[in-house]
Symmetry: C2
Subunit: 145 residues, 2 copies
DNA sequence: TGATTTAGACAGATTATCTGTCTAATCTGA
DNA sequence: TCAGATTAGACAGATAATCTGTCTAAATCA
């Protein structure tokens, strides 16, 4: 019997709070920078688009939504000009979703705010322990995915 | 400049994956146990109800939604019999949301599945490192909340 | 090559979420 | 003490996000 938990707040809540803080702060920063037409759900999908493009079905898996939901969000982002869809040269059925240059500023602002938050977190627990968390979660995610 | 990140997958994504795995596995287990009328959003609120009851506005803050959204989810849970609302003896405006005995089985199943997942995670990274993550997140959440 | 799987599009329904407004109770400060 | 500000929650309405189900075309597999 593993007894890491049982006392509140449990690990699930803690993971949620930390995850949500990072997401909300990044989103708030983007809004503050004048980009007001990207929702959190859209941003969640956007954040999972790889450098060379990602399929909608892969985005769906990574964002933990159905592919229909992911497709809906990608459609909004495309209409707003933040992403484009190009044919996948390796698979005639598929299309790769890619960030457009219009997203560059958004990504930069979001990354800067994430760095800011991580700085605050480092001030609280130290860089070593934050890196331990990162490394451990990395190994856990390998198990999960 | 903090450089814990910059390489994918970043900490935000890792936190999301771990959080979501725990939440989804717990929810799946509850469904598998025959309780099919609790949604993930409802469960998210339910999981934040304290032993002696919690106000809707506090649930809203903890679940990171508006109090209207929290009230809506509590209303569904109340209709389904999983929670009840009682007057708060300390504040005439407020009502405390409490779990009913009908929730006992749900909580037990969810807790058992969480323990199962944590066991799997322990197998992957060891108990010590999992506890480190828990402790560090605890301190980060103090900063955040 | 025929059967199965996969990627995505399309349609429709439901759920979750928000903003805005209102009342009553509590708290605060002069 | 009391008037103003704040807080808890209810009510209404709108929008966003999400799901299930179905379909076609392309790829994979046996």
């Amino acid at each position: 019997m593993v007894t890491i938990d049982r006392q509140e707040p449990n690990l699930g809540v803690l993971l949620f709070v930390a995850y949500r803080e990072l997401e909300q702060r990044a989103h708030d920063a983007v809004i503050a920078a004048g980009v007001t037409d990207i929702t959190m759900a859209q941003a969640r999908v956007m954040a999972r688009i790889g450098a060379h493009g990602t399929r909608v079905s892969d985005l769906a898996v990574q964002a933990r939504v159905t592919k229909q939901s992911a497709a809906f969000l990608v459609e909004q982002l495309e209409k707003a000009g933040y992403v484009e869809r190009v044919p996948d040269p390796l698979d005639g059925r598929a299309r790769l979703v890619r960030l457009t240059s219009q997203s560059d500023e958004v990504v930069a602002v979001a990354n800067a705010e994430v760095a800011q938050v991580l700085g605050e977190w480092t001030g609280q627990v130290g860089l070593g322990r934050l890196r331990q968390v990162h490394q451990t979660l990395l190994e856990l995610c390998e198990l999960i995915d």
